[in-house]
Amino acid sequence: MRTTLTLLLFFCCQSLFAQSEINSSVQELRLSELRMTTLTQSQHLEMFDARGSLARAEHELNLFNSFGKAETEKSLRLDLLLEQDALDDSTEELEQLKIMYDRNNLADVTAQMVLNRAERNLQRQQISVELAQSEITKWVQLGMTRAQADLDYDVTYAKLNIAYLEAEHTSSRVELSTEISDLKLFIAELRADSEDE
């Protein structure tokens, strides 16, 4: 009698443990399926972003090739022109100032001070002209090539990024998919064992 009761208790406990394991595995399966949904959505978002980056990089590259190269050079040449004009204006104004001061002949330290400042302004303006000229040379000889390379790099990077993401996404999905299949198989085995018992 005692042996029978002990066996009955053993089987009851075994059945309860088996059911609990099934429940736990089903829960794990649901979680994995939810992870699959999230993974799919986040991969869509990443791909959207990566394709956007590629489109922008290609647009910038096209813009640079169509307008940017020429416009930047033109703009730098305009800067040079403005600086040269400013230099001419300063030169003319200094000449006029000298004429005016000479004509007025109100010899004063202030006059000399203003003339000195105008001379120094002229010297600064000459440096500005030289810098504006150097900016053009820098652009034509170095800057343009560098800008082209940067933009090419951006396009290539965006393309490679898409390729990488595609591979990485597939791998992640396969990995999770396998995990889900394993879980499903495990649950089926548990249920079969439970029914046999």
Binding site: N104, L106, V109, T110, A111, M113
Partner: protein
């Protein structure tokens, strides 16, 4: 034919009636303005030196305020001297002139602030007018005013910019002699120097000639004058100040100075024709000054007009009217009187820009002086 004659008569009668009304308004405004100015003359002869300036007064520097106070007293004295002889007024003129002669010279308020020049130019003008005043001569003040004028002229010369003129800030260089110069302050200085020369007082002829040439240099093809003495003067396009709309008051002061110079034998482009054009420009564009008058921030109105341009310009317009033959001055008289009288407050004061210490006083002094000269144009 009869109706045509009647219409002509009616028009003439209407014009004559308008002129009479303007004359009456002018007389009344002068009397009321005088009453206000008399009430503001203190025992020492000066006007309105405010010992307790308001917190919101635009300028905190005491010496700058003293410069404006001296200038205001000078303009008030000029307003009284422009009127027919009157015993009571003579006493007030004498007290004001004594005060101008005996006050300590206004010092430079700051390294960047040379507003002391306003005291110099206007007290010089007041002293030269006093040099022609019978009561001042009768009371043996002539020597005193001539000596004081000499001192003031020496001070004024120290501030003549190498550009040839005068201005009231030196922030460009902060040098002992400022480099910045304006056309309109130069005009006031030139008027004072020319009047001093007329009296036979000793004037530095070379400096005066340079100042006159500087004013001519400022004159633009549209008849206006640049605000500052520019190396290369040009008319401002758009909403700039260096054109007729931004220079209505400068036109009057500079035209008067250059007209006076021409009268005294200097080479000058200003004759009756240019005076009339300038006055026409003033009244055709008067709304720019009307809009600016009373605004609290300098140069905030269209074409950078400031409130304080108003009476300054009208004063010199009044002087110019006096220079014209009666027939040519007459069409301007009514609009001129109207433009000044409409600004008068109940207490007889006039205000174009808020200055707690001297705003109403310089306004009334300029207003009354301008009306007096304009009234003389009808005689």
């Amino acid at each position: 034919m009869n109706s045509l004659a009647a219409m002509v008569l009616l028009c003439c009668s209407a014009q004559s009636s308008e002129l009479e009304l303007a004359e009456q308004a002018c007389d009344t405004a002068i009397e009321r303005g005088n009453a206000f100015l008399y009430s503001r003359q203190t025992k020492n002869g000066g006007l309105s030196l405010n010992a307790t300036p308001a917190l919101h007064d635009v300028w905190a520097n005491a010496e700058t305020n003293r410069s404006w106070h001296i200038a205001t007293t000078s303009i008030a004295a000029m307003a009284w001297m422009a009127q027919p002889q009157d015993d009571a007024r003579d006493l007030r003129i004498a007290r004001a002139i004594d005060y101008l002669c005996k006050s300590p010279l206004v010092k430079r308020p700051d390294d960047w602030d040379t507003d002391n020049t306003w005291a110099y130019v206007y007290s010089l003008c007041a002293l030269t007018r006093a040099g022609n005043n019978a009561y001042i001569e009768k009371t043996h003040r002539t020597k005193m005013i001539r000596q004081r004028a000499q001192v003031i002229m020496q001070e004024l010369y120290k501030y003549q910019s190498p550009m040839g003129g005068w201005a009231y800030y030196a922030d460009e260089t902060k040098a002992v002699t400022p480099n910045w110069a304006t056309s309109f302050q130069t005009a006031v200085a030139v008027i004072g120097l020319l009047e001093a020369k007329q009296l036979g007082w000793s004037v530095d002829e070379r400096r005066l000639r340079v100042a006159i040439d500087t004013l001519i240099h400022c004159r633009l093809p549209d008849g206006s004058y640049t605000y500052s003495v520019e190396i290369i003067p040009r008319v401002d396009t758009g909403t700039g100040i260096d054109n007729v709309k931004g220079g209505l008051s400068r036109i009057q002061s500079c035209n008067y100075a250059l007209y006076l110079a021409k009268q005294m034998g200097y080479k000058s482009p200003i004759g009756h024709e240019q005076i009339i054009t300038g006055l026409q420009q003033l009244f055709a564009n008067h709304h720019y000054l009307d809009i600016a008058r009373g605004r609290p921030t300098p140069h905030e109105a269209y074409h950078y007009n400031s409130g304080y341009f108003y009476f300054f310009g009208h004063y010199y317009a009044g002087l110019l009217l006096e220079m014209l033959p009666k027939k040519e001055a007459q069409p301007f008289f009514s609009p001129y009187v109207n433009s000044v009288v409409k600004t008068q407050h109940g207490d007889g004061s006039m205000l174009d820009f808020f200055l707690d210490a001297s705003g109403k006083e310089y306004g009334a002094a300029f207003g009354v002086a301008g009306l007096c000269h304009a009234r003389n144009s009808l005689k």
